[in-house]
Symmetry: none
Subunit: 201 residues, 4 copies
DNA sequence: CATGAATGAGGATTCATTCAT
DNA sequence: AATGAATGAATCCTCATTCAT
């Protein structure tokens, strides 16, 4: 059992490394522009060995996208059920969204920009997870409208999507320019989302 | 000369069609995922004939991106020099930005998502145009701050970029879902940008 | 039109050469043992150029098999409708069968030995043609039984199939050993089929 | 020694299973179309473990062919030395030949169709065994001619080879269609070989 | 005995590009 | 202005084989 467990661990470790390598390469070159050789190089193994961990290049893309979405969504699920003011929760959601661009390597970027190259059958799960995320964010806005902390005129669906668009834009910027500060960007995104650009009062 | 002019006109027409075809194909499949055969099919000519209009596939991408940016920027230049309130101008800028997603076929999308696959030398002009656009938008915000119509605390650079991110997000949505109404989306984007989500007053 | 016709002829010529090259290589090395490089070499073109004439290696196999069966069957159709004694027709059928091994390069051998590697969808037409051939041969035997020139006890289906097996065996031998004489082998096959091995009387 | 013997027995059992598995897979997919993974799957072991029983894939093919030929030939040797009429012996030879297609799994088919993919050095022994088989069969015909039970005009070499071709054809049919009855097919083959198709007398 | 992991060479296929016509 | 034919390099993927454990 020790052997089996150790083996299994070894495989899982390498599998994780493969996902990370694929994420990095896909983020830089795009799915079609990346080669399996690139990914293997990034991992330090032979090209053929990659197929020990992925069934195909497309399967690799799917795994990268799922990897990105899963933890991103799970943090949102946790956040949604915890107590706190809506504006506070929104701030945390933004921070979490931006943070996943840095902590998950480039998987989030890959998900946003490359997922459409997946065959429909491979995208189903992704769609489910993505919808769920949008839903949770929309519910946050709805709750804010209901408890009076947000504008009653708000189109919550539009707001949620706009916030996702905004975070994705800055998330990519965070990847491109490492000097940018996540907390700073997050704070500004929250401010923009809440107060807009008009003078106060 | 008449012949040459006629020829040239015919050539220019076909050239424009080639750019449009390339834009459409690149938007759907990405630069690396698209083949010159795809573009030729879209135009209804033979693969080899494409090289009469483009020096290379990469040159095609460059032309598509330039095509997108040029007119997009020129409308912004005009807008910037015209009289009117800042908020009014912002609204027009947003409308113009979103509109280019529909009127320029998919060239804008291609510019946003695929331009990084161009070699650096090919991207210089694009960078110049893009910077100029961001600058103009930023100046709009600055002017608003100066004349008191926008919040004096505003980070204009951040705001301009956020607005670009927001418009690009919705621009892609406009392409993906043709039922969405440009004017409606534009109005909402302006509202969000100006007032945020908090209750008025 | 002249150009178009000439071009079309050029293509058809090369296409035929490609089929012959594929037949030769598949006969020698088997479908899976042969490489597209082998076929290209046999034709004297580049490996990639082969795909101008075949959609895939499997399509090449299909074309080879069809090429073999079509003419083989058509000669049988002609033969069946012509006048003459049954034994005379049987002799001609045998000669025709054996001859196709030499005149059609190795396509017949490929059909017999490699056709099962084709996907089912690709084999349908082949099955139809093959069945038709067996049918025609069987009808020859039936006619012989009916007109009294063959043994009334004969199982025509078994006889027709056995004759095919016999001819295929010797057809392959003809390919392997070019010193063998087609007419001689054909005559002996006919004799065996008609008289067996027992002493006359 | 006991251990070693036990080990050896276990090894021999597995070795036999490996040959049977290889025969089955080679028969279905051909030598080049089959993978070592296929064979391992058929045996229920890991791909790498196969190399405990075979030095290489080609060695596996050799063993399968030898396995098929050895017993097939030995039965023929026995048959040749036993008393009985020629026609009776021929009948038994045919039955034995056909039977080996069913009892030796698919090894006979593999021998007939795939042995040419073996390197020459590996085929020597097979050639010897095959020649010996043909020789024995030819001698059977010769003896028949000599003792007057067969047609004195008979080309015994041709007859022996034709019978082999006939039996191999029906042997493969027996594999493909398990509803066919060996004894029935054997009887018909004998009848055809002896009497041909002409009416008696 | 057996396996999991890795290799690396080979193979089918694609595709941007060229060019004679 | 356009095309058909060809190229050849690149790329994804497979697979026989090895080997430490």
């Amino acid at each position: 059992m020790t052997t089996s467990r150790a083996t299994s661990t070894r495989y899982q470790q390498q599998h994780q490394r493969a996902i990370a390598a694929a994420a990095s390469v896909f983020a830089k070159k795009g799915f079609h522009g990346a080669t399996t050789q690139d990914i293997a190089n990034e991992m330090g193994i032979q090209q053929g060995s990659l197929y020990y961990y992925f069934d195909s290049k497309e399967a690799a893309l799917e795994e990268v996208c799922l990897f990105a979405l899963r933890d991103y969504l799970s943090r949102m699920e946790v956040l949604a059920t915890q107590p706190g003011s809506i504006t506070n929760k929104l701030g945390k959601a933004i921070q979490s969204h931006l943070a996943s661009y840095r902590t998950h390597h480039e998987a989030m970027k890959v998900h946003n920009e490359q997922r459409l190259y997946l065959a429909d059958t491979r995208r189903e799960q992704l769609k489910t997870l993505g919808s769920r995320y949008r839903e949770l964010l929309e519910q946050l806005f709805s709750a804010g409208v209901k408890d009076g902390s947000l504008n009653p005129q708000l189109d919550c669906r539009f707001s949620a999507r706009s916030l996702i668009g905004l975070c994705n834009y800055w998330g990519v910027m965070l990847l491109r320019d490492t000097r940018l500060d996540i907390e700073d960007i997050g704070a500004r995104c929250l401010e923009l989302t809440l107060q807009g650009s008009l003078p106060p009062g």
